[in-house]
Symmetry: C2
Subunit: 416 residues, 2 copies
């Protein structure tokens, strides 16, 4: 089964918002063996929508559309769907009751005409009942192509995809199995990794494909197998991963598709029964937030002190005023005291600390913009590294956070 | 000038990564009056690329392509561009010297054959020299359409867009002016706002369009004006915003396109000369991180204590053990003590505190998954609110963070 995902909305075409809906839908479809051939973002414009629908008719079996279902005048999707299906809008009683009840409960006022009009749906549509919002999803079929229209609000779209669209596809269509395995490597660049596995890559069977997903300092390798026989595919991937492990086991740090550095660090801490805390300045709590974002973090993560102001570094993290005077607040010495003291305060095995100047203006220090010091207190002592991440602010913070997680990953891996 | 943006890569079509490049490029083009008609994400596949190029030929004047320029075998863009332009790859000496020097400097090894091959470019291409990476950008023209191919690594793409692509378009093409103004409203739903401004919307001149961008609790209104005369457009938008202010001034909280809640809160704190700190449990530092992400935050943000473990709430935030025993660690009473004590510890005017159970498993408390208490200490006392944000973990954390920022925004607005 082949599919195209369409996002409708000018706010995407002018770059005002980033389309995250398409990736969510793609992942959900991929998981059930539906192959997404293309994603399109098009204008809130009748002609653009009609032309796009016509160009996909009978080319793919499934078109999933998000956006353009709200109650206001700039939302044209529903009327245009009617035109495309030569249909008319009819009032759906069930949707109307739901909309009226939801508005009264959530907003404590009567539903307006605009709200009630959300219960108008094309007569040929199967309504996908939206329990978590007012705009219903719609499922319409023309010849060999199903068009599914969903609201653009992410949690409403997610609800409809997970509870209605995916189950309906699974029960009504046959699909092949698609299995992905992602190998997370650390410490070597894309071309070096490619050279080390060149022969292995050349020998891949034709039902398996390989993609490289590089990021600073690491490369993910994604293997995709397609076919009818799930067990056969799984066995084949299992063997391929084993041979890959023989070739580049020294740089492989994880295997999961979703695996981020904070997940890898979290798993290592659980395995080694170790705990961690953070003491942040320029990263402002972002390391804390990433560590805490992992389910089960409460087992190894004790907490953080974000000492943004210099006075708070002294008061809460017990950095000595002399150290700040002698070396400035953005220095390796201050980072070191922050890390060691956080380790003591939180009584953890590890503590990571950052101090730097993310810009755009200079803060409490004369350090140049982009300058960051990271210290990691471990059971065996403390490591300090100095960086300059340049500009802008966002990049400095992001790279300081990534570097911190990389330092943790490397060090925790070494220790028992 | 009309444009289409294409992202090439299977990792996008399976939802493994979210395409953020297209939004960046769209915003850069929009700013210089280039109208993006469509965004496409397509497969790393020769035929898909050729078909897409052919379908856009002479339909738009500009096609910007990202992805598929890396050194490894899954990257086919460059060869396919050659095929489309009936061209051959030739070695570019300048690029080769740059690649060799960059690899030696950054990785302290000799450039491999794969690295050096990145200096192969179609003979008809104008090379866009990539100072920050190894894959060069390329600019090729066929009949009325320019094809610009850029690497997919975001900071390399951004460098080429900002320093080479945009300046080249500006110097070589005439474009109309496009001006956007975004109005941030707070507290009323999309349909209610629409009703209040219905007549105003009907009376909009034909060179101005309006879009509604709803999010929980707030609606952004985006006005777009297009034309040849920049001053005329600016004056027209100025008048329209003034009449909008008369209609719905009570719910307008800001005017900037990029305005997020943390930016609004930051500006209010600066204006009122107030300071803030956070004491977080279930949000794990995310509120801290958002506050700190705003340039100039060091003027009003003192810091945070992320007390993830219960013991740390007692030790660092001085929450009384009796309060935890009587009410459990996930309770309004604990949130209240966290906020009030953080206000004292950091000596700030405001302090926001969160305690909750983000799931999936129950932590140090018997509170149900999704249960969150938020307290805001202000100069006039402390507010506590109770929520249940359901599941999953990610949504609970995100909604708790948004709610916290909304509480701050509302309260700081009220106070002098």
């Amino acid at each position: 089964m082949k599919a195209t995902i369409i996002t409708i909305g000018d706010e995407i075409l002018i770059g005002q918002i980033i389309d995250t809906n398409s990736a969510y839908i793609a992942k959900a479809l991929d998981r059930i063996g539906v192959e997404v051939k293309e994603m399109l973002s098009i204008s809130d414009d009748r002609k653009a929508i009609l032309d796009t629908f016509a160009s996909l008719q009978n080319k793919v079996e499934l078109v999933v559309i998000t956006g353009g279902l709200g109650p206001t005048k700039d939302d044209v999707t529903k009327k245009t769907i009617c035109d495309y299906f030569e249909d008319t809008l009819v009032r759906n009683v069930e949707v109307e009751l739901h909309v009226v009840a939801l508005i009264e409960k959530a907003l404590q006022r009567k539903a307006s005409q605009m709200n009630i009009d959300q219960a108008l749906v094309p007569s040929k549509a199967t309504v996908l009942h939206n329990e978590v919002g007012t705009a219903p999803g719609m499922w319409l079929k023309k010849e060999n192509t199903v068009f599914v229209s969903l609201p653009g609000v992410p949690y409403e779209m997610k609800y409809l995809v997970d509870y209605l669209v995916v189950p309906k596809i699974v029960s009504e269509y046959e699909r092949p199995f698609i299995i992905h395995k992602t190998v997370l490597t650390y410490g070597q660049g894309e071309s070096l990794v490619a050279e080390r596995i060149e022969q292995w890559e050349d020998d891949l069977p034709n039902f398996v494909s390989l993609a490289y997903l590089p990021a600073p300092g690491r490369v993910r390798l994604r293997l995709t197998a397609r076919g009818k026989d799930k067990q056969f595919l799984e066995a084949a991937l299992h063997d391929l991963l084993a041979s890959l492990q023989n070739l580049i086991g020294d740089i492989i740090v994880g295997f999961d598709e979703e695996e981020t550095l904070e997940v890898v660090v979290g798993r290592m801490l659980v395995q080694k029964n170790r705990t961690i805390a953070t003491a942040e300045s320029c990263t402002g709590g972002k390391i804390a937030q990433l560590i805490a974002s992992v389910p089960g973090a409460s087992g190894y993560y004790k907490g953080s002190i974000v000492a943004y102001a210099t006075a708070m570094k002294i008061k809460l993290l017990e950095v000595r005023p002399e150290t700040i005077e002698q070396h400035s607040v953005v220095s390796g010495e201050v980072a070191k005291e922050m890390a060691v003291n956080a380790q003591k305060i939180f009584q953890t095995d590890y503590a990571i600390a950052t101090t730097g100047n993310a810009g755009p203006a200079k803060g409490d220090s004369e350090a140049s913009v982009g300058s960051v010091f990271i210290a990691l207190a471990t059971p065996n002592g403390v490591l300090v590294e100095a960086f300059n991440f340049g500009q802008p602010r966002e990049k400095v913070i992001d790279r300081a956070v990534t570097k911190s997680l990389e330092m943790m990953q490397k060090e925790i891996l070494k220790n028992v």
